[in-house]
Amino acid sequence: MRQGSMKWRYLKQGIFLWVVRIAALIIAAALGGILFFIFVNGIGAVDWTFLTEPPRDSMTAGGIMPAIIGTVYLTLGAVLVAMPLGVTSAVYLSEYARSGPAVRFIRIGINSLAGVPSVVFGLFGLSLFVVYLDFGSSILAGSLTLAILILPTIIGSAEEALKAVPQTFREASLALGVSKWQTVSRIVLPNALPGILTGSILGIGRAAGETAPIMFTAAAFFTTRLPGSVFDEVMALPYHIYVLATAGTRIEETRPLQYGTALVLIALVLGVDLAAIVIRSYIRRKKRW
């Protein structure tokens, strides 16, 4: 009897373990499937010419170099704006703000911002940056729009990273007669850096992949010219895919180009992620507690 119930318990444990394993496998398989699908369909289109030349023949041939450059500029611009702003806000929320209605209101604002559909950001960017501030459809307007889009991600993860720094570090520093600001800048921020970078990585991925926010604010349908200033329009990878797949002259014929562009976009994002993960784990290894 006792033996039997033990067996049953082991069996239950075994079944549960497999359920969990399979759930994890399904997720991994879905991701792998998507990557594989894009890779197989896209790799044929990707060669040196594809990466280094502008599109030709009404975008049915040639490469996507202007779109690669454009996406890099837009993403870089967005992170350059959103990271200082986001980290500063997170420092305020986590280190300085005393809980009260004002802070609650700010938090609700940030959370709502995270839930806003990206096309709304696009329209907001259009009316504020493109029209009202008269930046035109430009790298500047697009970067600022994307920056607002990724701000909640960066604030959220930076705040979490700051909160994860042990309270005892702050106390130790403050008790030595070190000012609050010095404590934040010398102890808290350096120890939160790996987590802050993680948030920015996620931000980069999101900014690089979004179409709706840039379609009214930065993205050109077609240009062979490389941007000369932040007030120029650029092509961008996600928008280029969208254009080829919906508004191109010969949609079916350009399928390989669409997959090729998608593959380049994914490779770009994964490449950035990978680089940042390496940096992060290097910093993390140096700082242990």
Partner: protein, 253 residues
Amino acid sequence: MRDGDIIVTQDVNFYYGSFRALTGVNISFEKNRVTALIGPSGCGKSTLLRLLNRMNDFIEQTRVEGKVLFEGRNIYDPEVDPVEIRRRIGMVFQKPNPFPKSIFNNIVYGPRLAGGMSRTDLESLAERSLKQAVLWDEVKDILGQSAMMLSGGQQQRLCIARALAMKPDVLLMDEPTSALDPISTAKIEELMEGLKKDYTIIIVTHNMQQAARVSDYTGFFYLGRLIEFNRTGKIFTTPDMKQTEDYITGRFG
């Protein structure tokens, strides 16, 4: 206020929100003596300790009434800079809390930010502080290594050295040995004896033998009030109050 007193509290009340944690505390700490604060958990002894260098400032919704005089000046006066107070009244915490930096950089962290010291100054300061904390011989060859590699007892002595490097007048110790083994505890008690010459020490402890061993004066707290304050010898042999006697003989607490 007696002549040799460095810190005196006058009718101090302290509130966490609407909860009164300390009621009418009048206590004076004599210079170059060790004073122990004892009492059951939640009696307010740690709260009082953290009041003395304004570490309670960082806890939201707290309020202080009364005066805390440090060398005759109320440290809760609006024009007093709490950062300055904390430089002169150092603190060692219950759990060793070294920074994830090298041993050397832990010690010189505070003085370096305070400014005005050359590299050589900092080096001799580090040596002096580590010697005072009786850690120098164990770490003099590994000053560049991470402080996180040290044992718990060594880490706590490092934290003492780090506090001493600010050259404070007073050292507050909040149950400094409660996370340590008996040998490390003995080492820290021993070094406290040596520190008395140059510093005033105020220690919160749960360990009554420790209070009896290291302190000159003892204050017994219960439910946020200072029940009895006297020479340690007197408190532990012939206390005036029944509650004190009950606590030190282990009848409650």
